[in-house]
């Protein structure tokens, strides 16, 4: 290392002391003196830059940070509480809805069907006496001509309702028919639950639920209308009002 390189490195980094620099400093009086002057100058520079720090600066930084953090914490807590409340409301609402929904007539009718699923496979018409006996078991008497293609009748409890369970066939489609004597009002509508399609209609003195899991040649809407009209005539009589779909 020559003097020029030594001075260049000294000017760039006075605190550097690699082996080459130390060796040159040891053998060059001029550069050793320059090194001494450089250390003093560097010390003076460092001291000059040490301006006083404003009192309490660190505390003010901490206060600002802690205050901001506290505000954030409050905001996060409010959001968390709101989300928790929403979640509880959603779960509660969902449970209430499921509880309510499970007690509706369509839900009860669909739930009843697995017990008597084979009734939909029957194809042989039953007698008018058997049908009348089924209604009589529920204290009901028929007022008009019976549908011709009825393959099943039974007095079934469906949830809290005492129903007359029938199966009517329209073309190649078997439709379960649940007549609920005495039931008025409520929510009547077409419904679709799992594989089941159904319709609830209001008659004069009770409600009729029709449902099937079969897909015949005729659309369900037409089949349900035919079945509803047949049973309206049979239950309410020929002179009764037209069946109203709820």
């Amino acid at each position: 290392m020559d003097c020029l390189e030594f001075r260049r490195r000294l000017g760039a980094d006075p605190h550097a002391h690699d082996a080459e620099q130390l060796a040159h400093r040891a053998q060059c009086v001029g550069c050793a003196a320059a090194w001494d002057r450089s250390q003093q100058a560097e010390s003076d520079l460092f001291a000059a830059l040490q301006i006083p720090v404003p009192a309490g600066l660190a505390e003010r930084v901490l206060l600002t940070q802690a205050t901001g953090e506290r505000r954030q914490y409050g905001r996060r807590r409010t959001i968390a509480l709101a989300m928790a409340a929403s979640l509880v409301a959603a779960i509660g609402g969902s449970l209430l809805w499921r509880e309510f929904d499970a007690r509706t007539l369509p839900a009860l009718a669909v739930a009843h069907m697995p017990e008597e699923i084979h009734s939909l496979d029957l194809t042989q018409p039953i007698t008018a006496q058997a049908i009348e006996a089924g209604f009589a078991a529920r204290g009901q008497s028929l007022q008009g001509p019976l549908p011709t293609d009825v393959t099943y009748v039974h007095d079934c409890p469906v949830g809290p309702y005492l129903t007359v369970h029938l199966v009517s066939r329209v073309g190649d489609t078997s439709v379960a028919v649940l007549y609920v004597p005495g039931k008025q009002g409520g929510t009547g509508r077409d419904f679709h639950r799992g594989d089941w399609r159904g319709r609830v209609v209001q008659l004069q003195h009770g409600q009729l639920v029709m449902l099937t899991d079969q897909r015949g040649k005729q659309p369900f809407d037409a089949v349900a209308s035919t079945v509803a009209q047949d049973w309206r005539v049979a239950i309410d009589g020929l002179g009764g009002p037209r069946v109203s779909q709820l």
């Binding site: 830059l49 006083p52 940070q65």
Partner: protein, 181 residues
């Protein structure tokens, strides 16, 4: 049974780390910020912003030894951001630094004043690497990485920075002696 101190239940390790960081480095950060921007109030703002940003990114700090360079990096970026927003004059330093025996002994008072004035006149491109070296304690390689320059270029800047400091001080002395003669 001794009940736990309620404060210790509240202050988590992250908060304790931040407090230690703040107390250990606020002074150095302030001085660096002051010599960078030349304004006391602005320097304090820069320290505040730097520490708040450090708090948000505290997970990025893995080793205690890396704390100071890390904070200096944040402060430089904050300063650059502020500079972009306000178009600050980064060269002009105010002369409102209070006298304090802690940083200037009586016999060196004159030198310190001249040095500070010279520092205030030093162009920003020389002042910044010099501050990183003298106040930040960074090596030439670290400064190069910080400024995105080659190490050789940084050495040249540092060399010139010291040369200019001397030149400015000699010029000031010449003006004074000329005025007296």
């Amino acid at each position: 049974m001794k009940r736990p101190d309620p404060v210790s239940l509240v202050v988590n390790p992250r908060q304790r780390q931040f407090e230690a960081l703040t107390r250990a480095h606020t002074g150095d950060l302030y001085r660096f910020a002051y010599w960078l921007c030349g304004q006391d109030a602005l320097a304090q703002d820069l320290v505040q912003e730097t520490m708040l940003r450090a708090w948000k990114n505290l997970e990025a700090l893995r080793e205690a030894e890396a704390a100071k360079p890390w904070l200096l990096t944040i402060l430089r970026r904050e300063h650059a951001r502020l500079h972009e927003r306000r178009q600050l004059d980064t060269v002009e330093l105010n002369d409102g630094i209070p006298e304090q025996a802690a940083w200037a002994s009586p016999e060196r008072h004159g030198d310190a004043t001249e040095l500070r004035e010279a520092m205030s006149k030093l162009p920003y491109k020389y002042r910044e690497p010099l501050l990183l070296q003298v106040l930040g304690g960074l090596t030439c390689d670290e400064i190069a990485a910080e400024l995105g320059l080659q190490s050789g270029a940084v050495m040249t800047q540092l060399f010139r920075a010291r040369q200019q400091l001397k030149s400015i001080m000699h010029g000031a002395r010449a003006e004074v002696s000329h005025g007296l003669s």
